[in-house]
């Protein structure tokens, strides 16, 4: 018994709750928004109400109970009151969060109810493929609101309902540690008629051999439970991957190789002919020059055309939905399409669910990796760099992808993609050693898609550019001046696939792009404390992506945001 098991005392101690001795705590947040907008279009429009005033106040009131040191229960209610609503009119009550979590027997960590979960980028991962540039200033406030509303975090987790558990075993020799993670969630209930109960589950086993090498096996599966409805055709999507990391750490530099490789199979139990299976490989070499504060990587990815992993390929935004903000305009009351900036403006466009269909995307926003790293039918090289000086005056990220399709769509000719993304953050306060924060942030995303052919109807040439500049200047203590310039331009054409309900391409439609959208905004933000602030924002937006139907709007917004 040399390989005796060390139950993770240190691990579990991190999970001990109610360290301050409080058995019941109130947690949550509150937010109020009042907005006024003024909309005009170049096309004749005597129908649309130009000006719109609205808003709401909401409170998320949670009660966190720690019946003992190893158990935590949270229930959170949302009370929302539309601006102008009172005494029941416009007031809604919802359960926002509900979970129980804890540590069983000082070994097994568990959570039941709402769980925020991820595994690996190709199995279960909440990519963010539509907001391409990092934000600051006014846009950062909007992004924080939409992230809070949909439970998105910078850890790329999906909020699901189900159960999760994990534990680890430590060894004295040869292997440092083995971690086990498992989860099960419910994607849709049975209707007791013809729709089967659909679950999503999986887990991983991570073996850390030493500080130099670790490897993990990941598995996820979407599966219908037979006999939960009058339907014998049960759907299955299984994904198995290996993630790995090999490190070589020296005083002046660190070299590592990491990546993920695996395969998927998707089928229904009564239609084996329609089975899709494919694999992917993604590996990169990393070099960190410690003194210079520079990290570099170069990698290769090859995602098969039939690789399907719905936990990693679900998008935050369903591009088939319509706007809530000035949904229709012009005298013909045409539907106003989702614009690039709408993605910042409207938190209700986002969802928190896993889709088991191939979700629609906007090629003008992200045509290169519309489903993030896990996008199927992509192959090629990528590289990137991250720089941060010791005083954190400059933080810079750069990434570049040069990809192509693996299999052509409607033709043997393949699309070729280029994608450059960079974000730079200047912390002038660190440079000048000021206590007040002075930040300038710049972001750029540039994509090209090209398909050459001897036939004009097969040719594709699409270019999109997103630029963002954000400024945060703390002018007096706790009062910050905010400013943003957001610019989006697109030109060219794309030929987009039309898919049937099972995801097969049945036809194509042409997209012609030409025009731009810009958004100028400024505002003031006053911090009452670290978690409470009031912000006033004015913005002016012009969209001429369709030059016949160009429009503009101005908007004033007043946010009051509190977390407790």
């Amino acid at each position: 018994m040399k390989f005796f098991i060390l139950l993770l005392a240190s691990f579990t101690s991190l999970l001990t709750f109610a360290q301050d001795g409080k058995k019941v705590q109130f947690v949550g947040g509150a937010r109020s928004l009042i907005s006024h907008s003024d909309f005009t279009s170049d096309a004749e429009d005597t129908v649309t109400a130009r000006k719109n005033t609205g808003g709401y106040a909401l409170i998320d009131l949670g009660i966190k109970i720690n019946p003992n040191a190893n158990t935590e229960i949270l229930g959170m209610l949302r009370i929302k009151n539309a601006f102008g609503g009172f005494w029941g009119s416009g007031v809604t009550f919802d359960v926002r969060q509900l979970y129980v979590k804890g540590v069983a027997g000082n070994v097994l960590r568990y959570q039941i109810g709402n769980i925020d979960y991820k595994l690996s980028p190709y199995t279960f991962y909440n990519h963010n493929p539509d907001l391409l540039v990092q934000t600051s200033g006014t846009n950062k406030i909007k992004e924080e609101v939409l992230n809070y509303e949909s439970f998105y975090s910078n850890k790329n987790t999906w909020r699901q309902q189900g159960a999760a558990a994990d534990f680890a075993i430590q060894f004295p020799k040869f292997v440092q540690e083995i971690k086990f993670n498992g989860f099960i969630t419910r994607l849709n209930p049975s209707n007791l008629s013809n729709i089967l109960e659909r679950l999503y589950g999986g887990g991983n086993i991570t073996l850390t051999q030493s500080k130099y090498f670790s490897i993990a096996y990941n598995h996820v599966s979407v599966f219908d439970l037979k006999q939960t409805a009058n339907n014998n055709d049960a759907y299955r999507n299984n994904v198995n991957t290996l993630t790995y990391e090999l490190k070589f750490d020296q005083e002046k530099y660190k070299v590592s190789v990491d990546g993920e490789s695996g395969f998927s199979s998707s089928f229904s139990t009564q239609n084996n002919e329609g089975k899709l299976s494919d694999y992917f490989v993604n590996a990169k070499v990393n070099l960190e020059l410690k003194k210079a504060g520079l990290k570099l990587h170069v990698g290769y990815m090859d995602n098969g055309a039939d690789f399907r992993s719905f936990g990693a390929q679900s998008k935050r935004i369903d591009f088939n939905q319509t706007n809530n903000f000035y949904e229709r305009y012009t005298n013909e009351q045409i539907v106003r399409p989702l614009s690039n900036y709408d993605l910042y403006n409207d938190p209700t466009l986002y969802n928190a669910s896993i889709s088991t269909k191939i979700m629609a995307y906007n090629p003008m926003i992200n045509n290169v990796l519309p489903y993030g790293t896990a996008t199927f039918n992509r192959r090629g090289l990528y590289a990137g760099a991250h720089f941060s000086d010791k005083k954190k005056i400059i933080l810079a990220d750069l990434s570049y992808y040069r990809l192509s399709e693996v299999r052509g769509q409607g033709t043997f000719e393949l699309r070729k993609f280029n994608y450059l993304n960079s974000n730079v953050r200047f912390n002038f306060s660190n440079l000048m050693k000021w206590k007040k924060q002075q930040v300038l942030q710049l972001g750029i995303a540039y994509q090209t898609t090209k398909r050459t052919s001897e036939f004009d109807f097969e040719k594709i040439d699409l270019k999109t550019l997103t630029l963002h500049t954000g400024l945060e200047l703390e002018v007096i203590k706790d009062l910050t001046l905010l400013g943003n310039v957001y610019y989006f331009n697109t030109n060219g054409n794309e030929i987009m696939p039309i898919r049937n309900t099972v995801g097969d391409i049945i036809n194509f439609y042409g997209v012609v792009a030409g025009g731009d959208e810009y958004n100028l905004s400024g505002g003031l933000k006053f911090n009452f404390s670290k978690d409470i602030y009031l912000a006033a924002i004015f913005e002016s937006n012009r969209n001429s992506l369709n030059d016949q139907l160009a429009y503009r709007y101005k908007q004033v917004m007043l946010y009051y945001i509190m977390k407790f």
Binding site: N230, L246, R407, T411, F455, F457, P497, I506
Partner: protein, 333 residues
């Protein structure tokens, strides 16, 4: 470092293993979609005549020079029934054009000759063929009333003594199923009720309708005709449950579910409702049922049909046919 190089080597081998996919494309060929259209093989049916009542089927074939959106209309030359099948492709095959006798727009097909017409989006070509229906398809389910044998003596009715009252079974070519339907018409200027019919399970020799006990699997279907110019008719269906099995429905202590259908369309329309979705109504408003509050589809003793109209709205007119309960899905006529 050797380990790292070995690892990179393994990854490189994995990458090199991918088979070339230069012989495959996703979706239909763009050259097919954008090329010149022509008919390679004309429209043909797999058989000249078909007996749907004997579970026979018929399919249609044709071949074109490119992938195109097509529409196949099968039109009953006597009934006027239409079955439409649409698709996209460069051929009509059994898998996309199989017809088992169903209809897309009422009436149902009868024993009749049918014209089969194939048209294409953006092209002027129309291909035509004919097929004969020897016997129409029979539908699985429990038929409450199809009026083919007249007014069942086990049903009861009440007709107001208004003006131009015309509540009777009629037989003519416009019936959506078979040859007969029930006509509802009249003017009653003092009451919403114009007339009603009680369809009793006992008329079919059963204490309750012989239905599945799972209300999620039971569907109520009825064909209703609207005048189009007279949109004041309301048809109310009530479902009375004999929960305690004493042979009678007691309104004060047993459930009655109801659905009110405003007849605001022109022509025949199939209404299908899942039994578990049907609410309890009191004066047209949702209310709590008086019994156990459970949809007991296997305990429905009687279905009442009430023809209603606002007394100030004048003459009201509607027609009914083919009241049928189906299981596991709505009626696929």
């Amino acid at each position: 470092m050797k380990k790292a190089l070995t690892f990179i080597g393994i990854v490189a081998v994995l990458v090199a293993c991918r088979k070339k996919e230069l012989d495959k494309i996703d979706g239909p060929s763009l050259q097919d979609l954008n090329g010149q259209f022509s008919v390679i093989t004309s429209l043909a049916s797999s058989k000249d005549s078909v007996d749907f009542s004997a579970s026979e089927t018929v399919f249609f074939t044709a071949e074109f020079s490119k992938t195109i959106a097509w529409k196949l209309d099968i039109i009953g030359l006597t009934s006027g029934a239409v079955k439409t099948i649409e698709g996209t492709g460069n051929a009509l095959t059994e898998s996309v054009s199989l017809w088992a006798g169903s209809t897309t727009s009422l009436p149902l097909f009868k024993s009749e000759n049918c014209k089969v017409q194939l048209t294409f989006t953006g092209e002027t070509d129309t291909l035509v063929d004919y097929v004969k229906v020897l016997q129409p398809k029979t539908n699985a389910g429990y038929v409450v009333a199809d009026f083919e044998a007249g007014f069942n003596s086990g049903w009861t009715y009440f007709i107001q003594s208004g003006a131009d009252m015309d509540f009777q079974v009629k037989s003519d070519i416009t019936a959506p199923q078979g040859n007969a339907y029930y006509n509802l018409a009249g003017t009653v200027d003092w009451d919403w009720l114009i007339g009603l019919v009680n369809f009793k399970a006992t008329a079919g020799g059963n204490p309750t309708f012989p239905l599945n006990s799972n209300p999620n699997n039971v569907y109520f279907n009825v064909m209703v005709w609207g005048d189009g110019s007279l949109t004041n008719s309301l048809v109310l269906f009530q479902f009375e449950e004999d929960e305690n099995g004493d042979g009678t429905f007691t309104a004060a202590s047993e459930d009655q579910y109801a659905v009110e259908i405003p007849v605001n369309w022109s022509g025949w329309k199939l209404i299908s409702l899942k039994y578990s979705d049907i609410p309890c109504l009191v004066n047209g408003q949702p209310a709590a049922p008086n019994g156990d509050g459970v949809h007991n589809s296997n305990k429905i003793k009687q279905v009442n049909m009430l023809h209603l109209a606002n007394p100030s709205s004048g003459y009201a007119k509607a027609k009914l046919d083919y009241i049928i309960f189906t299981e596991n899905g709505p009626l696929n006529p």
